[in-house]
Symmetry: C2
Subunit: 414 residues, 2 copies
């Protein structure tokens, strides 16, 4: 958690962290600046609170962090730009030298954040040489990096925000289920009848997504990554988002994966699989197996358990029932084709990860992660996934933050 | 424009561009992949169309680009990860070697995109050495970089999309103006009376923003960067976003800066300054001066004109009227405190830029940029900015894409 940063910096031998100015959506900056909306730098020296550098236009927004803010002008940005602006390499060196002098930064410094790869690669190569008399710029450990390690557990304030986003997201999913159920089925005898709206037109996936976006909007959540509402074959390809123009049909599996966030803040992540009216025996069996894998996974969520053990258990469980998995059939697009879970917070995917190989994560108090087993058969026209976000609370027990029925079948009552 | 990329690559001596896989919102990937929603790589060799690399889960989304897609599995990702996943440096080297072999990439290669600074710095340092027998990894020019140069002019398809986003954004701003006008004023004699809702409660800035977000939602636009609706002193700080809890008051300047985008695509950017009921003579004079600066700027928008000339003209115009500017008072927070304009497209700020110093941009056919003069006096409690987005069309004339009245005063008719 955030309070671990100084210790993690010490472990890596870092004297300061820099989040350089950039306009991109930047979880690193949000983490250190308490979610302030500005685009400038953060400088954090070990053992001291972060300091923010902001353009004068953004000074009031930066000040909402509750941290010390220097404006660029206070550091003489304008004059340096006037002198060096024709040569951005030289300007960057002069500017970071000024910052490091003003804030008494020296020793080993690592740059983190989200930004323009090319610009940052060039800038860091240049700074590394140009400022070598003052600081040693290091890339830092990468897998996991220092922030990933901090993100792995959440403090009380973060859990409270994640719980709030969970409640709002769950309400949206429940509303969507209830709203779909208000519709009626096409009045004819046929396979794959369509769901019909009050005006007689078919309900499309685009209509459902629009309804869901409206519900998210009502609850101040943003669908920044784009929800999945994928039917039939598309449900069998885990990250296919669903085709807006497709009519919603009875008897097809629908994978509804919702992962909104509060603006600039924390995510939730949940998935339900629905069949309207009825399910094929094969889809029903896949759903039953996925639910059982889900429950077995939840029971294994105890502090100290390697996350890889859960992925191994789920692979074994599915393999015993004849499903290919990423363990026994690397590269498979049929069966169980992904890892079981991932942490989330300011990033929709972050530590801890739940891969079977090359990972060294253990379940800990303060973790917030998904549990999301699934089975996929695109060529047979279906896919199933069930996903909740959970946390490991202070007593070491698992608490499910998502609150939405798991039932596969939605009966139409319109 | 996009068609210039091969020529720009040749100028910089680049044989291939790589957009590495990353989950971040990534205008570089959107540009090369025609807006496909996936998180994998793009490889573009000079003289050839881009090729996409996607996780199997995202293969259908990547295919919507209309470009060739390879799945990670087709390139043997799983096996490489199994062999090297415990050492991400070695894995990255093996993986990019595999990609470069498969796609016959050699020579000078530059990595672009938006990503994790620290991870990318480390990866590129490592790849530069580990793959030196096959490719020369170069940072490329930075100010402007190759993409910035391409972004500077838009092709017909891009202009059409920007025009569409402009029309929808303008409709939102007009609706907001009309909606505010439907309210009534507090029934008392006082300075700075409040605007009142039908239920008698004061209309707050949070209420207005919520209405605007609803209007954006209705038109499939996202407020990804967070609009500005800032009143009084806050209007005098160009990037202060406005306080949700503040009641909207008569007689205060309100700076309303709206810069939404279509999901994953193109931005619009516009600002209006409003005073409800009446304006102080000082604010009215500032508004008149800003409008005159706007019109003079528009008249200078001709192909071949250095953008710095417009910034110089506006500084001179304001200075003659006694306002401090960034030209005669570097670092000022009173008067004209920013540059006149910026290009926009997949980024809300991109080339061309309109600074007076250290810039070498000329107005060209196919440019899309803002014109946004402003005057700011936070300590005197007001600020004024007027901003439209314009394009330079094939005949060389300027076309204003924003469509919204400029009138300062909103009369309440509720």
């Amino acid at each position: 958690m955030k309070a671990d940063l100084d210790r993690l910096m010490e472990t890596e031998g870092l004297d300061a962290l820099v989040i350089p100015a950039a306009e991109n959506d930047n979880p690193y900056r949000a983490y250190l600046s308490n979610g302030a909306h500005y685009t400038g730098d953060v400088i954090k020296k070990r053992g001291e609170p972060p300091v923010l550098l902001a353009h004068a236009m953004e000074r009031d927004e930066a000040a909402k962090s509750g941290l010390i803010v220097y404006t660029y002008d206070e550091l003489g940005y304008g004059q340096l730009y006037y002198e060096h602006g024709h040569d951005m390499d030289a300007f960057n060196a002069a500017w970071y030298r000024r910052i490091f002098e003003k804030l008494a930064v020296s020793g080993h410094v690592a740059f983190y954040g989200v930004g323009d790869i090319n610009r940052m690669f060039r800038m860091l190569l240049y700074l590394r040489d140009a400022l070598a008399d003052r600081v040693t710029i290091v890339p830092g450990a990468v897998n996991p990096n220092l922030f990933n390690k901090a993100y792995e557990t959440k403090d009380t304030d973060e859990i409270a925000r994640l719980r709030d986003v969970a409640a709002r997201t769950s309400a949206v999913a429940q509303a969507a289920r209830a709203w779909i159920a208000e519709h009626c089925a096409e009045n004819r005898h046929a396979e794959n009848r369509r769901v019909i709206q009050a005006d007689g037109s078919p309900l499309t996936i685009g209509d459902v997504k629009r309804y869901v976006r409206g519900q998210l909007f009502e609850r101040d959540l943003e669908d920044i990554e784009g929800m999945i509402f994928a039917q039939g074959r598309d449900a069998g390809v885990p990250h296919s988002k669903g085709e807006d123009s497709d009519p919603v049909r009875l008897g097809e599996t629908i994978v509804f994966d919702l992962f909104p966030r509060e603006p600039g803040g924390y995510f939730h992540d949940m998935t339900r699989t629905w069949c309207i009216g009825y399910a094929s025996p094969e889809a029903q069996a896949a759903y039953d197996a996925v639910m059982e894998a889900y429950h077995r996974s939840i029971r294994m969520c105890k502090p100290g358990t390697p996350t890889a053990n859960l992925q191994e258990m789920v692979c074994a469980y599915f393999e015993e029932r004849g499903h290919p998995t990423v363990r026994n059939t690397p590269g498979t697009t049929d069966g169980y084709v992904h890892s079981l879970a991932h942490g989330l917070g300011l990033n929709v995917h972050e530590a801890p990860y739940f891969r079977s190989k090359a990972s060294d994560y253990h379940i800990q108090v303060g973790n917030v992660f998904t549990i999301e087993p699934g089975l996929y058969y695109p060529e047979r026209g279906y896919g199933v996934r069930i996903e909740d976000t959970v946390t490991i609370n202070e007593s070491g027990s698992v608490e499910v933050l998502t609150d939405c029925p798991y039932d596969l079948i939605i009966e139409l009552n319109g």
